[in-house]
């Protein structure tokens, strides 16, 4: 064999020679001192040259690398002679096509969503408050009983109230007209002494009932939610007097204020809850519309934005493959045909980022052969050509080396399944 030329020695040290060539050269080097000496020189030049080029890092402290393309010249500026004119439609239609996940943009979007959410909350609170006020603004003096002071009220001065049963008999309003002298609400007669302390004593009970209603406003009874404000008003106005007239004084003085207060509060809260639910629906729809254009991974999982389910992931996304490649490209990447699992048909071959594969060179892509087993689970066979001097992983695990190719078998099935597959990798 003739002496080795410098190019061959560099190719040898760069790991670019086939196995048979390497063996041939090793045999020659074992017998030729001149070539052995030249190999030492070449090693030194190679290491020094790589170190010199490696010293030329992009200056530190410089402004951060822009993450988007520079804007194209605007139309008033003619493109320079001898160059391709700018393709305005391309720029106009897809200036963001090269944008990776832009953190600033996402922060802006999130801030905007937060502002929108707060604005929606304020509108909701104001709207519900306004509606509640307009609903319950008294048209009759008898209806001024939203915050009745039970402890200070007496049967004679307490305004007419209505119980749910009485609300269903609006016709009894005629009774009030027919028997005006019997109607005690307007009567200045003193109240019986006995009921008054009872009312005071029962106030906590009434409060408790009101509290319970507070906590269960949405789950109020259907009759309550179904009653419209006008029904309530009419019922209260018409039925109150009749009820007062028909019922015994003892009942009137204690039961009626409490029952009517509870019923009234329940109705009011049910109506407010229904309105709140309506508004919530509207806000949810608006939030969904506003976030529809956001990538699903970046969607804020706030309560108002949860409605839309994420779209199904493609196999490429599941396998984290950013580019599908053909066999020829795999050969270019690896220097050999890609390794495969014997007896299994790959779904496709693709490239994934080296930094996502343990043990791989993070600066270079990794060739990933993607399989699906019979149960639809992903099996990934990663492969990357090792750099000269790169340590091969310890054998026995699912990461091993064949020649200068680093292999890593992993996926969704358990390690025992993968270990069974490992001997079939060719």
């Amino acid at each position: 064999m003739p002496h080795l030329d410098e190019g061959t020695l560099h190719a040898l040290l760069d790991g670019e020679l086939e196995l048979d060539e390497v063996k041939e050269i090793q045999t020659h080097l074992g017998t030729c001192a001149a070539c052995g000496s030249r190999l030492q020189d070449v090693k030194q030049f190679l290491a020094e040259a790589d170190s010199l080029v490696g010293a030329l890092e992009t200056p530190a402290g410089a402004p951060k690398v822009r993450r988007e393309p520079a804007p194209p010249p605007r139309s008033p500026l003619a493109p320079p002679a001898g160059t391709e004119p700018w393709r305005e439609p391309i720029w106009d239609s897809s200036p963001k096509i090269l944008l990776p996940e832009d953190m600033e943009e996402n922060t802006r979007r999130r801030r905007w969503m937060t502002v929108m959410r707060w604005a929606a909350m304020i509108v909701l609170v104001l709207g519900v408050g306004q509606l509640a006020r307009s609903m319950f603004t008294p048209k009759h003096p008898e209806l001024q009983l939203y915050e009745p002071d039970v402890s200070s009220s007496t049967p004679t001065t307490s305004p007419p109230v209505v119980s749910p049963q009485e609300r269903s008999t609006p016709a009894s309003a005629a009774a009030k007209v027919a028997r005006p002298t019997q109607a005690p609400p307007s009567s200045p007669a003193p109240a019986p002494a006995a009921p008054e302390p009872k009312v005071v004593a029962e106030q906590p009970a009434a409060d408790t009932a009101a509290d319970e209603l507070d906590s269960t406003t949405v789950a109020s009874s259907p009759e309550d939610t179904a009653s419209s404000p006008t029904q309530v008003a009419a019922g209260a106005a018409a039925g109150a007097a009749a009820a007062e007239a028909d019922r015994p004084d003892s009942e009137r003085s204690s039961d009626t204020p409490r029952a009517s207060q509870s019923a009234d509060a329940a109705t009011r809260r049910a109506a407010a809850a229904a309105l709140e639910e309506l508004d919530r629906e509207r806000i949810r729809a608006r939030a969904n519309a506003a976030t529809a254009s956001l990538p699903p991974a970046r969607t804020d999982p706030g309560p108002a934005v949860q409605a839309a389910p994420p779209p199904p992931r493609t196999l490429e996304q599941r396998a984290q493959v950013y580019l599908r490649i053909g066999l020829d490209e795999a050969v270019k990447q690896l220097g050999h045909p890609a390794h495969v699992i014997e007896g299994m048909t790959p779904q496709f071959i693709g490239l994934t980022q080296g930094r996502g594969v343990p043990g791989a060179d993070p600066a270079r892509p990794v060739v990933r052969v993607v399989y699906l087993d019979t149960r639809g689970r992903l099996i990934l066979l990663d492969q990357q050509r090792m750099q000269p001097g790169q340590a091969a992983p310890a054998s026995g695990s699912l990461r091993w080396a064949v020649g200068d190719i680093l292999l890593y078998l992993h996926g969704e099935p358990g390690a025992d399944v993968l270990r069974n597959l490992q001997p079939r990798v060719r």
């Binding site: 030049f45 790589d50 080029v53 010293a55 200056p59 804007p71 950013y322 270019k332 980022q353």
Partner: protein, 165 residues
Amino acid sequence: MTADLTQLFELYYESLVRMLYRRTGDRDRAEDLAQETFARAVAAPPNNPRPWLFAVALNLVREDGRRTVRQGRRLELLRTDDVPATGPDVDLERNERSALVHAALATLGERDREALLLKAEGFNYDEIASTLGLSKGAVGTTLARARRRLVEAYRSETRGKNAAS
């Protein structure tokens, strides 16, 4: 395709800027050239992206396209006032070794230099060959010559500097 280009951008942009900076010694210009390269990738998405991107970038360094890049840069200067006044010369002065290496690289032939810079970015011989239009067999020889000349030129620069000081 959008996702692919986004991935390409993420994967190769920094490497491309680094190679272009090593080639030109001008960080701003390197970034402009890299962005121009990706702009062309939008117009004509490549099948074999890495060699394609680096070949286009090296062509841009060589050809008259640099005027386009400068035009874009002037517009950007008009747009933002906070562009630092420090240029590549300041960076070079700041790093004496970098200046010497740049000077040594400048003594190399165009093809030798480009092969060396591509190798430094992890290109294998096939990729270097397809990027530079060489045969694979010539890559080893080209790299051997480039490495030897770079080291010799650097040693010579260092000697000259030491003698001058």
